[in-house]
């Protein structure tokens, strides 16, 4: 085992301009927000973002001008409504939006995790989403060779980098996720590089006492960074809940043309541990 513990700044350098990137969590839960803010501080450009149901993580990067393309099943702010920067930049043509659907995106990650070029899924047929997907060549109608059933083959999605925020890890990158997993384990196996930010570092001997709790083993992890409150304002199960008031302030700033100020106050001037 090799130690992979590093700083936030070093870990964020693993993301190159133009990379295909995915994040762990779903909507306002366990998104790697401090890592996202570091990407903004490092001025990343032309990122290609993909995920099933992201929210403030994607919208923040879009609003900060770090994103060229977005592919999601849904990108919104739950009951608070639309994702403001996503909507604005998509309608102005400043970002390319290729809407996917949850299942094909997950299937694409699963294919990559299994080392397969594609994976068939049911459903999808008859939806206009296939006309979008076919533009990028990610979904093609096929017949099952045994039953003849018509399905959609989804091309494997192999992100350049998957970034996950988890509860615990040791310095070698043995990762414990507590509570809901979302597709985090699948994404880690699918990506070329894996960065995990954690609430808490724990000793390797503690990891060895309960190996069944290690959902991502060290050999697929490239960097571990200890960042308490690293998902804020999103939740981290067993540590803190989502700060819905902060999320409302974010929306207010975006809608009142004060997003630059939001970035100043919450991203650029933020002291990082």
């Amino acid at each position: 085992m090799k130690k992979v513990l590093t700083s936030l700044e070093e870990a964020a350098r693993l993301v190159q301009d133009g990379d295909l990137v995915t994040f762990g969590g779903a909507t306002f839960h366990r998104a790697p927000m401090e890592f996202v803010r570091e990407l903004v501080r490092q001025g990343k450009k032309e990122l290609n973002l993909i995920d099933r149901e992201p929210a403030i993580d994607f919208d923040l990067l879009i609003g900060a001008g770090c994103v060229a393309k977005v592919r999601t099943g849904m990108l919104a702010f739950e009951v608070f409504g639309m994702a403001p920067n996503f909507r604005k930049k998509s309608e102005k043509g400043e970002i390319v939006t290729k809407e996917g659907a949850c299942q094909p995106i997950i299937a694409g990650f699963r294919a990559a995790a299994m080392g397969l070029p594609s994976l068939p899924v049911k459903g999808m047929l008859g939806s206009d989403l296939l006309t979008i997907s076919e533009v990028v060549g990610s979904q093609v109608e096929i017949q099952d060779p045994f039953t003849g059933e018509t399905m959609i083959a989804v091309r494997a999605i192999e992100p350049d980098v998957a970034v996950i925020h988890a509860q615990k890890a040791d310095e070698y990158g043995n990762i414990r996720i507590e509570g809901p997993f979302y597709e985090d384990v699948i994404k880690a196996k699918a990506a070329k590089k894996v960065v995990v930010t954690v609430e808490e570092l724990i000793p390797n001997r503690d990891i060895r006492k309960m190996p069944e709790a290690t959902t991502i083993p060290h050999f697929i992890v490239d960097a571990v960074v200890e960042i308490p409150k690293g998902a804020y304002p999103c939740s981290c199960f067993n540590y803190y809940d989502a700060d819905y008031d902060h999320i409302k302030e974010y929306l207010k700033a975006a809608y009142q043309d004060q997003f630059a100020q939001y970035l100043d106050n919450n991203v650029y001037r933020r002291a990082v541990a």
Partner: protein
């Protein structure tokens, strides 16, 4: 004298009645009404249903809802975690019985749009996206679409973009699967040979004519159309107890 029943509570009860005791049911993102409907169903006529939360908990002891439908507190005292990819596997096996989905537009054949208005390459209006709609709509035995603003801008002759597949956009083998549309005015289904939308129930205080006037196509009326069953006082109290913050009203503002 009966106090007036609030529209969200009427919709939640109508949605709950779609669930059968033997069903396995999943809710998705941004779904306060489905979560409350699932909770009402398991506390009344469907105690044996399998409840899969979008937050991944199975059969949680739900005591409260939050602005996010993926909030891990929704998994309180769950018996297991079952991830979304596992719920989708279940759907492909035909074993996910019912799913609740939203729509920005819905048309006479049951097609839904949650994607965009205007040009695909340069949308006039960028909508949030269909999430699981295009995957689950055709293959799930029953899909319940909920719409909080019944108007002729939402109920249109033909959707601008087919995100979720209605009866004219699905293979023959999936035409037996049921679509039910529950709005703030009534309950619509497609139980006729042409699989065209028809009014089955009008909510108390509303009429068939009002629903037709607020629909952008010639909406049919079921021969046995009647008033939507109203929830009892106990059910309304249950809804208020779980949603003491009034999250369910957010879609009606």
């Amino acid at each position: 004298m009966n106090a007036k029943i609030e529209t969200p509570d009427l919709m939640i009860y109508a949605m709950a009645l779609q669930i059968e005791n033997s069903n396995t049911v999943l809710h998705g993102v941004s779904s306060p009404l489905p979560i409350l409907a699932m909770s009402v169903a398991r506390n009344t006529h469907a105690p044996d249903m399998a409840y899969i939360s979008g937050a991944e908990g199975v059969d949680p002891e739900l005591d409260r809802i939050y602005p996010s439908s993926f909030d891990a507190r929704l998994n309180r005292n769950a018996v297991a975690y079952f991830g979304l990819h596992e719920a989708f596997d279940l759907a492909q096996r035909g074993e996910l019985d019912l799913m609740f989905l939203g729509a920005a537009q819905v048309d006479r054949h049951g097609n839904t749009n949650l994607s965009l208005i205007g040009d695909v390459e340069r949308p006039k209006v960028q909508l949030p996206g269909g999430a699981a709609s295009a995957f689950l709509m055709p293959i799930t035995p029953k899909v319940v679409i909920w719409v909080t603003r019944h108007s002729n801008k939402v109920f249109v002759e033909e959707v601008d973009f087919v995100t979720g597949q209605g009866y004219n956009h699905r293979a023959e083998e999936y035409k037996a699967n049921e679509i039910v549309v529950i709005s703030n005015l009534g309950v619509m289904n497609f139980k006729n040979p042409e699989r065209a939308m028809q009014i089955q129930y009008y909510h108390p205080g509303h009429t068939v004519d009002e629903i037709k006037e607020n629909t952008g196509f010639d909406l049919r009326v079921a021969p046995d159309v009647s008033e939507t069953p109203a929830p009892t006082k106990d059910i309304i109290e249950l809804i208020e107890k779980i949603d003491r913050d009034g999250v369910r009203n957010s879609e009606f503002r």
